[in-house]
Amino acid sequence: MRWSKSRRLGAPASGRLPRERLVPAAIPLLAFMTAVLLASTLLLYSSPEEKRISIYSNAANYSLPVLDRNGDEYIGLLELFEPLGAVSAKANGNHWKFRYYDVESEFTAGQTRVRIHGSDFDLPASFLLENGRGLVPLSSLGTLMPRILGGPVTFNQNSRRLFVGNVAVHFTAQVSKTTPPKLVMNFTAPVNPMIATEPGQLRMAFNHEAVVAPGSQGLTFDSKIIPSASFQESNGSAALVITATVPLMATFANNGRTIVVEPVPQVAAQVQSPPSVPRPPNNFAPPLAAGAPIRRPYFAVVDPSHGGEERGASLTAQLAEKDVTLAFGRRLRQELETRGLATLLLRDSDTTLSLDQRASLTNSAHAAIYICLHAASEGEGVRVYTAIVPSDTENRGPFLSWDAAQGAFQLLSQSAGTGLVVELQSKQIRARSLITPLRPLNNITTAALAVEVSPPSDDISELNSPAYQQFIAGAIAAGLADIREKLETRP
């Protein structure tokens, strides 16, 4: 084909654009396509939250993604039933055969009518077949699943929580009339919620437990300090939000069947007597009243480091530092308490606590010593650390700089560390005393130590051995008991 001169200079006769016009015309088109591509990519990656459904059953509790198709929510049927028992599926053209134990079901892509165990059943929306994967509408689960399982299923579609059989965990909650008040919650099965605190509330997220609302979503208590709580369910999880006028902390008892929520210790003391100490500004530790008698509800604060989303070191493929420190912390608390030393364990479950929260809780407890526990796969024996405290931070009046709050207690900490190492060495445990840049040691306003425990041999899994943990915990507790008098005298 040849371009004639008149066509090159004039308007296109047959609707085609001349080459000179084609290039400028293509630029906006390309720009538009790029913008569309970018916008779709951004939309894809900025989706706020993946839709999920949680399934609770005697066989397993699990969570699956929910897919949006044709304006409806869908879920893969094979993935849904796989954790519940023996399943198989076979696609043949538009037909999809699904088998759960001896219950056979037949689905047809684009059709709502399905055949389950010889009986017809209508889905609220069409069955979809994608690359051999059968998708059913989420809204059908409440009626579809009992036909396949042969048992009762309770499905809360709004919160996307599905209960197979009688697996729901119920709970009661009541506030004790003690001072300070305590919210005691008793569950019908052990629970291990993620706990987060915010000003004015404590939130327990039940991501893996079939906890259900106790009659109504809202709970009110006859307490000015803990006036109410609300149960919330959404996107496959449940949460209990407890409102309070003071900071709260939760402790677990009865093998995880009981959770007690109470004001943190310092606040508890203020509840008993009106506050006389001004609140410290942000980034400053509480003021010290030198020489003043200190009310010590606890002798020691034991802090199992890491926890929750923060696993710490991966000691082996299965063993996380957070689990070893928690087990070790519980033993140390037990050893200290058998010696008559009241101990606060900062976390008694797999919960996330920030370093600032750990320091604040410790400083509020006014304990004689803080012991932070770590575990390492390398080295041998026990290493006892005290803080490296920055020197160029300024204190303001009675308030200590947050980063250097440990400054006034460094000598006491070092003395405690040395005493502990001597005690450990006397029990033939290899021990060293070192200084280290490890938070929150430098934020603590009492004697503060970090203890890093290594395995007794090349076998790292021995870190998790109850006998080894008991031996080390006993030695540390004995060492602390020996220096109790020195620790309880404030400098």
Binding site: A313, E321, A376, E378, P390, S433, L434
Partner: protein
């Protein structure tokens, strides 16, 4: 109506793409069977010009958990900042050696050292350095104090050191050693003195 040359162009591109796909498909199996030589993913530092000098680097030894000084000969440039970077890279060469006493992940690198004000040095680590570092109180402390002590021992006048990772602040190296605060050289010297004893 689509111009004919565009149709030809697209057709040729499709044919080329199809041909390349077939070629890749054919050679894929062969590549799998070729033994992969050990690769070194470390970025190659530009050659340094300058005199070879003796320097003291502080090397961490994991087996006994200590930091010990070691004399090395390093080619050092004239500029103070460039010297600081090269000194620390010479320490990293020891750590990334096959027989390293304190192994770091391959690709761990000092991006830059900045001497920004009298007495303050900023060490900017790359992401691999921090993300792949082993986690533990002692193992992280050994890394941090050996870097600070090596720097302050060879570049006079440094009293404080701050760590960044990829130019940004970071809370900890690998979950333990605090990177949010400045490291004061006298305190690090005390830590190194303690770390020279195995007891």
């Amino acid at each position: 109506m689509i111009p004919r040359h565009l149709i030809f162009g697209v057709a040729v591109l499709l044919i080329v793409a199809f041909g390349m796909s077939m070629y890749v498909w054919r050679v894929r199996g062969r590549v799998d069977r070729v033994p992969t030589p050990e690769t070194n993913a470390q970025p190659v530092a530009p050659p340094v010009s300058g005199a070879t000098e003796q320097a003291t680097i502080y090397v961490a030894y994991d087996d006994v958990g200590v930091v010990r000084p070691k004399l090395v000969r390093v080619t050092l440039p004239v500029g103070r900042q460039e010297r600081a970077t090269e000194i620390l890279r010479s320490l990293l060469n020891v750590y990334e050696d096959k027989f390293s006493p304190h192994p770091l992940a391959p690709g761990s690198e000092i991006r830059d050292v900045y001497l920004v004000e009298p007495g303050l040095a900023i060490i900017d680590l790359n992401a691999v350095f921090a993300d792949s570092h082993r986690s533990g109180v002692l193992v992280e402390e050994l890394t941090v104090v050996s870097l600070v002590q090596t720097l302050s021992a060879n570049i006079p006048g440094i009293s404080r050191v701050k760590f960044l990772v990829e130019g940004r602040e970071r809370d900890t190296l690998a979950g333990h050693a605090d990177l949010s605060n400045f490291y004061e050289v006298p305190a690090v010297t005390r830590a190194v003195a303690q770390l020279q004893n195995t007891q």
